[in-house]
Subunit: 270 residues, 2 copies
């Protein structure tokens, strides 16, 4: 998907909501467990309930891999369902991959060609030649971990090099990579106060922002410091939407929660 198509969808739907598909057999309503592919059927119901209110879906790959072959089949069916029925949705493989050149190329093929995702999340630790293979794919987007929302982010990311913290170094250096215009960045909403400084380094890049809601981040702060002329934000909610209810009303509850977030977003888009 081209960036301008994503921006068009955001404007049209007045939403920059991404729904995270962290689908867990222990958490989905019990009636699904009798079906042949409970994960896919649950995802389909969540997609149908929420697609009007969001512009992106983000399957968390770990949740599929944990079920081995069956999990991969559920993932394949989910991305195919999205691409066939809602091609206007931006799809994110939340995979946090990254390896030496020829191996990164393999991961890129797995997620961009085999599964046809629009984007993938990548860990920057191995540097340039681990990221650039993903950037070679036209109309595909690589979302680099910059400042994550978890407690462990203080272990390395916010520590200072001689000149600046590691996450800023990741932003600065990655800007120089080939095809860097295909980069986006993960920036946790729990770190909204950092967004101002982040925008000084990457004024236009799209940011994928987890941590609003459950993890305590503020949508208002994120918009205040992070929004650009092209919006430049995708705000993700996973558990807060898909597990809004564990009863038979789960789909309506998910729709309500997605709609609530969309309506909040609309106020910041005006």
């Amino acid at each position: 998907m081209k960036l301008e198509d994503l921006v068009y969808q955001i404007r049209k739907k007045k939403s920059f909501l991404c729904v995270g598909l962290d689908t867990d057999l222990n958490k989905i309503p019990k009636q699904f467990l009798q079906l042949e592919d409970p994960i896919f059927e649950f995802n389909k119901a969540i997609i149908e309930a929420t697609q009007k209110f969001c512009v992106a879906y983000k399957p968390n790959i770990a949740f599929y891999e944990a079920y081995g072959l069956k999990g991969w089949l559920s993932l394949e069916k989910t991305i195919n369902y999205l691409n066939e029925n809602y091609p206007e949705q931006f799809t994110i493989a939340d995979a946090k991959r990254g390896d030496i050149g020829n191996t990164s190329t393999r991961y890129a093929k797995a997620f961009f060609e085999e599964l046809e995702f629009d984007s993938i999340t990548i860990a920057p630790y191995m540097g340039k030649d681990s990221v650039e293979p993903f950037l070679e794919f036209k109309d595909k987007h690589t979302i680099l971990l910059a400042l994550t929302s978890n407690a462990g982010s203080v272990d390395f990311q916010t520590k200072s090099f001689e000149h600046q913290e590691l996450y800023k170094e990741v932003l600065s250096v990655s800007k120089t990579y080939d095809n860097a215009e295909r980069l986006m960045y993960v920036v946790g909403a729990t770190k909204a106060e950092f967004l101002k400084q982040i925008r000084e380094i990457v004024p236009n890049s799209f940011l994928l922002v987890p941590g609003v809601g459950a993890q305590g981040g503020s949508l208002e702060e994120v918009c205040k410091y992070g929004m650009t002329d092209n919006v430049g934000l995708l705000v993700n909610s996973s558990r807060g939407i898909i597990y809004a209810s564990s009863g038979t009303d789960f789909a309506q509850a998910a729709a309500d929660k997605a709609k609530e977030l969309q309506e909040q977003m609309a106020t910041f888009l005006n």
Copy 2:
């Protein structure tokens, strides 16, 4: 597998060789392409040819994911084949995963329980709570990327914080994690001169060392600076062994290459 069992195998076989299974349909001998599962059949042949000379196998997960469901099936058959026929081999899922806590737990289950690998490679960028979920598994080992062998390692890893370089910070900080005795580290052989300083921080940990051979690292240097009383080294070779020949003699060529490396290793073990 317990560490002492790995050390026992190293002593017994006089080898600390790890064979990397980066199996690529474009590179394996053509006769395999007519079989139902060429990747698994090739792996099986390589394992049979090399198992006497090595103590570990390392499937590079990207190469399997790139083929989608079929690739995961080949991976599952490969790890099952190893566990059933050669349980004395230490198995490494070269997956370079790492995510927030509940997601890392999922990856740990995928590779330690679903696929029953002995160990997995992990990227440290997200810090403590992204690593510790892997460390909760008894007799399983987590191999943290410290100093990798690729060009991009200079982007961040070898840059200095106020006190020390990032890769040293990764070593120092990760030592404080819960169950840190289950940690190993990736250290590229092309950086052998760094091993002396690395051993000052982690004197006893096992190091997984790629980059000997094809990438130009010296086995002698690696042993000189990196070997401990318990050996503390696994040296990986992938392409150098499994693609030693692309003809019908590929298995013999792989065996010869593995034997050659094993014999070199034996001289450093005496």
